[in-house]
């Protein structure tokens, strides 16, 4: 993000902050939606992040680190939303599938279904590191720095999340039972 814009916003320039918000919102939304797997909650997380960012911006010491700081606020907003989501009983909601597809090009319906079940069972902290690693493309060290956690913790969360997702994927490869469930 342009340093001058950030500094103007830090000084209370709402127009500057609006430019920043519009430039950042799509990316924030995409990340939040992938962590939360819920468009409404992702929108709320972005809104919450923007309002908090505006209020806390004067406290940002290094304007060059605005993007990382904003993503950290976003991830914490997602934690908050995920906590509410848990309370509202939507953790096992399944995304609509778009019909059969070729596995070589993308994921099968069964894969996506099982991945989604596995992903939604993960704690928000593990979801976040998965999204930051596989969607944003950050290395564990960068994830740790962004989230303010030890690198070992980031690696540990990734490890457990990968294990859960691998198990989910392999469950999709087993034959379904006669009752539509899956064999154990």
């Amino acid at each position: 993000m342009d340093r001058e814009l950030v500094e103007r916003a830090q000084g209370g320039d709402r127009e500057a902050f609006a430019v920043i918000a519009r430039a950042s919102a799509d990316r924030m939304f995409a990340i939040a939606e992938r962590i939360l797997r819920d468009i409404g909650r992702a929108e709320d997380a972005v809104q919450q992040t923007l309002v908090i960012a505006w209020r806390q911006l004067p406290a940002l010491r290094d304007p060059n680190r605005f993007d990382a700081w904003l993503y950290r606020l976003l991830v914490h907003a997602c934690y908050s939303e995920a906590r509410d989501a848990r309370r509202w009983g939507s953790i096992f909601q399944i995304l609509p599938a778009d019909g059969p597809v070729d596995r070589d090009e993308t994921l099968s319906v069964a894969d996506r279904d099982q991945l989604d079940r596995g992903f939604r069972r993960l704690p928000a902290e593990q979801r976040s590191v998965l999204v930051l690693r596989h969607y944003v493309g950050l290395e564990p060290r960068e994830i740790a720095e962004l989230l303010g956690i030890p690198e070992g913790t980031a690696r540990s969360r990734l490890h457990y999340a990968h294990r859960a997702m691998r198990a989910a994927l392999e469950a999709a490869e087993r034959p379904a039972t006669a009752f539509g469930g899956r064999s154990s």
Binding site: F29, I39, Q47, R86, P150, Y160
Partner: protein
């Protein structure tokens, strides 16, 4: 078997699909909110009033007025500010000393205060002295109530930020070291005690899988046993349960006194579609005679408020008393109040605890509620009678006792940006005569006196036998 490469590819595809553009109205709505919102620079607001008995309110107000006048007169005369407010709340802002602002605090070489002099323990994230960047290490520090003489007790053992406690004699601080991988030197996970004079760390518990954390450490007065809450989880982080352990300090033998079991993290509850977390245990407190234990059992329940959207759940807690061997447990009747963190009074006659009340606040957009947690301070007699509410403004937490039967606690104030900062106060057992003990202000962040969930700052206990 799915290879790492295949998993990487699949997850890339999985996350690739999904919306990438936000609805313009969402950003517009946020910007409208911002138009009505100022920016916040860290500062501490004036504290709110305590709940006091009606008969005391007039006297308190009069005394406060006197204090304000006296404070103003002192300023006009350019005299040295009085050391600490000694009048009922709310005190004038000039009644307290200005703490030393030291955002890049380095350890002091000054010896800790001797005996039972006031001292505050806290957990602080370290900064690299060469680069000025935050590191991944958190250490136990102490600070005097006026903000001076900040000392890091130990360089080697990294601790987490939610477990902290003093030994009864005030000579050591206990904290939980998670044993973070890649944080040198490697540390065995468990509760450690840090000597405030020498910094020497002694491991008191060993937390190995499925243990994920030991919390709420309380050492008996004679140092022979330690009470902790042990939380367990499976390899994917699903919680398995929590239990109160009695650890024999001579042999290391652990005895489970009481525990909760979870099948994963959630269970069905209340309205259709609800998933509830729990139950879990917090805050065991051993009575002064060592004969009984009070603790809180928390769980999520369905919110039956008709104004809340179907399926909402809230957390609530009960205070349970049992004998020190885990037998004869009974739940106190708190008149429906949700509670946590009980602490016995020095004479064993009463228990102070914090209420923990969650509810939903309807948002202005008409479709999103936010969860609010209100915390107040109550006491109840040890026989389960005479319940008293001492505060009513919703942000008082971390209550303990002073040796003379007053209640020391942390009063939290919103900083307007979603977090809370706080300071230590005391009040009498009736909820009156509030006296402010610290004024950390923005420095509250540095000493981590900003958590609404756990008080990660602990005042040194008063000397035993006084």
């Amino acid at each position: 078997m799915t290879t790492d490469h295949e998993l990487d590819r699949v997850l890339g595809l999985y996350f690739e699909r999904g919306p990438i553009e936000i609805n313009d109205r969402v950003v517009a709505s946020a910007l409208e909110t911002i138009d009505d919102t100022g920016q916040v620079r860290p500062r501490l607001r004036r504290p709110r009033r305590f709940l006091m008995q009606h008969a005391m309110r007039f006297a308190a107000a009069a005394a406060a007025a006197v204090a304000v006048v006296a404070g103003a007169a002192a300023l006009l005369n350019q005299t040295t500010p009085p050391p600490v407010a000694v009048t009922p709340s709310p005190p004038a802002a000039t009644d307290v000393p200005t703490p030393t602002s030291d955002a890049t605090a380095r350890p002091s070489q000054t010896a800790p205060p001797a005996g039972g002099a006031p001292l505050i323990a806290y957990v602080r994230r370290e900064t690299d002295p060469n680069t000025g960047l935050l590191t991944y290490k958190w250490h136990v520090w102490t600070v005097e109530p006026d903000g001076s003489n900040r000392r890091r007790l130990n360089d080697d053992v990294s601790v987490d930020t939610i477990v902290l406690g003093w030994t009864p004699d005030g000579s050591r601080v206990m904290a939980f070291a998670p044993g973070y991988p890649n944080v040198e030197p490697e540390t065995s996970p468990g509760i450690y005690a840090f000597d405030i004079a020498t910094g020497e760390a002694t491991q008191l518990t060993v937390c190995e899988a499925p243990c994920v954390r030991d919390s709420g450490p309380q050492l008996s007065r004679d140092g022979s046993t330690l009470l902790v809450v042990r939380e367990t989880a499976d390899a994917t982080g699903n919680r398995l349960g929590s239990s109160i352990l009695l650890v024999d300090m001579a042999t290391g033998r652990e005895t489970e006194l009481v525990g909760t079991r979870l099948d994963g993290s959630f269970r069905s509850c209340g309205n259709a579609g609800s998933n509830c977390l729990g139950p879990w245990i917090r805050g065991p407190s051993l009575s002064p005679d060592g004969g009984r234990i009070a603790y809180a059992q928390m769980e999520e329940v369905a919110d039956e408020d008709p104004g809340v959207v179907r399926g909402a759940t809230i957390a609530r807690g009960d205070i349970i008393l049992m004998d020190a061997d885990g037998s004869d447990g009974r739940t106190l009747d708190l008149g429906g109040t949700s509670a946590s963190d009980p602490v016995w009074s020095p004479d064993g006659s009463r228990i102070v605890f914090g209420s923990y009340v969650e509810d939903y606040v309807f948002g202005t957009n008409g479709r999103r509620d936010t969860l609010r947690v209100r915390r107040d301070i109550y006491t109840i007699a040890a026989d389960g009678t005479d319940l008293r509410q001492l505060t009513d403004y919703g942000h008082a937490t971390g209550a303990t006792w002073t040796s003379d039967g007053r209640i020391r606690f942390i009063q939290l104030e919103s900083d307007g940006a979603g977090d809370y900062v706080g300071d230590f106060w005391t009040m009498d057992a009736a909820g009156g005569d509030g006296q402010r003990l610290t004024d950390f202000g923005p420095d509250a962040y540095d000493v981590e006196l900003s958590s609404l969930t756990y008080p990660v700052v602990q005042w040194r206990p008063d000397p035993l036998g006084q």
